[in-house]
């Protein structure tokens, strides 16, 4: 996330031309897609890469000497190398393809057990896992389930009223008893970008592993696992211009090596006898069954696309949008932002409450104007509870978002006022 070199600017009109869906009308209005934190739209080069894969090279991978199979394998492994490069991984073998972030996180959770051979993954009563109150359910429920299985205890960082991670208790929360700290890098509900370095340093001090839920950061910020210093990184393709159905887990090679298999089946084995099996080295060990080959190809193409534009340019574009949106929303008296209201360490995902109107109704009225925002708890119910709201309205931007769309949002909010006056 170093943004010292002036970022090349992004030509949003040219970018938009790559995304066919953006030309659509919704309820008679131009689409204003402000829900990229839920899922991003897909550019033509990604759709073309997937289509071309199916029309020219489709075959199963890894077990073939035939030409199509070899091409498919190279496309799949080539995508892995691209993804590894994109996040600064030392080796492609440190990237496991999963179906989404959620599976990535569950995969790590299932490496821990009372019977784990490696002490770093051995977990039982007396051990602790630390998360935060601003986790997406996907980085909370797997740890709750793990604690139920093992008797370990779940603890968590709070959130300040300003929407920041509350690190006051860092040294009291992350202790010798901590085996893992699992933290969201960039909150999908508050827009907060967390000071992971501080937390990772403390975890390392006490010998705990660290997992970053980078579902929102990998799509929106330059991310380098070397710089972050964490042990695990989970991310998901569909939020970064790639198809649904493909995600990734990056982990240090020595940790992957130490982890037992999770799903059993084809491709993850070394030798299989009826009486027992041995397992392939990572990453194959964690990719049981036919992988989402075409989706991996799509993710590779998405990475190429994002690299072509430059992640620094993407981040810079979104920073400008954040500033614009925060200013624009400040003109709507009914609105209270839930999350940071300044530009420091925050992204272009903005949640708010509209006085007197439930987010469901806000979202409905906005939809009638073509403005697509998400309303609800955004899979972060505890965060809503922390801010004493049942739900929020959330507008979120991406590289193709324009200030016009933010203007459309503000105009549509005036209609909300009118309908529910």
């Amino acid at each position: 996330m170093t943004r010292t070199i002036p970022a090349p600017t992004l030509d949003v009109d040219r970018v938009r031309a790559d995304f066919p869906i953006l030309a659509r009308l919704v309820n008679g209005h131009p689409l204003a897609y402000l829900d990229s934190a839920a899922t991003s739209q897909k550019p033509r080069p990604v759709l073309d890469a997937v289509r071309e894969y199916y029309e020219r090279h489709n075959a199963n991978v890894a077990r073939s000497v035939h030409t199509l199979g070899t091409e498919a394998t190279e496309a799949y492994e080539g995508a892995r190398a691209k993804v590894a490069g994109f996040i600064g991984a030392g080796s492609a073998d440190e990237v496991v393809f999963t179906k989404n972030s959620t599976e990535s996180i569950n995969l790590v959770a299932h490496a821990f057990s009372s019977m784990a051979a490696d002490p770093r993954f051995r977990l039982g009563p007396g051990d602790e896992i630390v998360v935060s109150e601003m986790e997406h359910h996907s980085n909370l429920v797997p740890w709750q389930l793990l604690c139920q299985r093992t008797g370990a205890k779940l603890r968590w960082f709070g959130i300040t009223e300003a929407g920041r991670l509350d690190l006051t208790d860092l040294d009291r929360l992350v202790t010798e008893r901590t085996k893992l700290v699992a933290l969201v890098h960039y909150s999908n509900i508050l827009g907060t970008i967390n000071p992971t370095a501080t937390v990772v340093a403390r975890a390392r001090q006490v010998g705990a592993l660290t997992l970053l839920d980078a579902s929102q950061s990998v799509p929106h910020l330059p991310v380098d696992v070397g710089v972050l210093g964490a042990d695990f990184l989970a991310f998901t393709g569909h939020k970064m211009c790639a198809p649904t159905g493909i995600g990734g887990l990056w982990a240090r090679a020595d940790l992957l090596e130490a982890m037992p298999p999770f799903l059993g089946g084809g491709s993850m084995i070394e030798t299989v006898l009826m009486t027992g099996s041995t397992y392939a080295p990572p990453p194959a060990r964690f990719e049981a069954g036919t992988p989402p080959v075409a989706k991996a190809v799509g993710l590779g193409a998405a990475v190429d696309y994002l690299r072509g534009i430059g992640m620094a340019a993407v981040a810079e574009h979104e920073k400008r949008l954040t500033a614009y949106a925060l200013d624009a929303l400040a003109t709507v008296p009914e609105i209270r932002i839930i999350g940071p209201t300044d530009l420091v360490d925050r992204g272009a995902t903005i949640s708010f409450a509209f006085a007197g109107v439930h987010p469901h109704d806000v979202g409905q009225v906005l939809d009638a104007q073509g403005v697509q925002v998400r309303v609800g708890h955004h899979c972060a119910r505890p965060t809503c509870a922390r801010f004493r709201v049942p739900a929020t309205t959330r507008a979120s931007c991406y590289l193709y978002t324009t200030t016009d769309e933010i203007d459309a949002l503000v105009r549509a909010l005036a209609v909300v006022r009118k309908v529910f006056a």
Partner: protein, 155 residues
């Protein structure tokens, strides 16, 4: 504008002036229902006596549709026989499942006919149904507690 279909005057009126809201005692049974996708919640109490719904009281947080639905529900079932209340429930559930193609019977549903527009918004159907699910749940338990018989055809 399509919005008029959804937010009909009757609905907005019930939303802004909810009838019968607030939790009251005594009651035979209480149900707490949650809509997991949006966080809408309702606590609803039912008192039955002499085969009738003597009171239906509720505390709801949620969107206009779910709140208005609770208010309309109250008006329909308060004082109704258990049998009538269950018939109303059935008629409302059918309306909501109809995707806007079911012609509601105004005799039966009264103000609830205004929800016909909601049925066209799959994402909002659950909002409208929330109070009704809680009501059926509480009603059946209240009837059980009061040792009343539930009319067979709807149980």
């Amino acid at each position: 504008m399509q919005l008029d279909q959804l937010y009909q005057e009757i609905i907005l009126d019930h939303y802004k002036h909810p009838r019968g809201c607030g939790l009251r005692a005594p009651y035979g049974a209480e149900a707490h229902h949650v809509n997991p996708t949006c966080g809408d919640e309702i606590t609803l109490r039912v008192r039955v006596g002499g085969g009738r719904v003597e009171d239906c009281s509720y505390d709801a947080t949620g969107c206009s549709i779910s709140q208005a639905s609770a208010s309309v529900l109250f008006e329909l079932v308060e004082g109704a026989s258990v049998e009538e209340a269950l018939r109303d429930h059935g008629a409302f559930a059918e309306l909501m499942a109809g995707r806007g193609t079911v012609e509601p019977d105004e005799e039966v549903l009264q103000d609830a006919v205004a929800f016909v527009g909601v049925a066209r918004y799959p994402a909002r159907v659950k909002c409208a149904l929330l109070p009704w699910m809680a009501f059926k749940d509480a009603l059946l338990r209240a009837v059980g507690a009061a040792d009343e018989r539930i009319p067979a055809k709807e149980g």
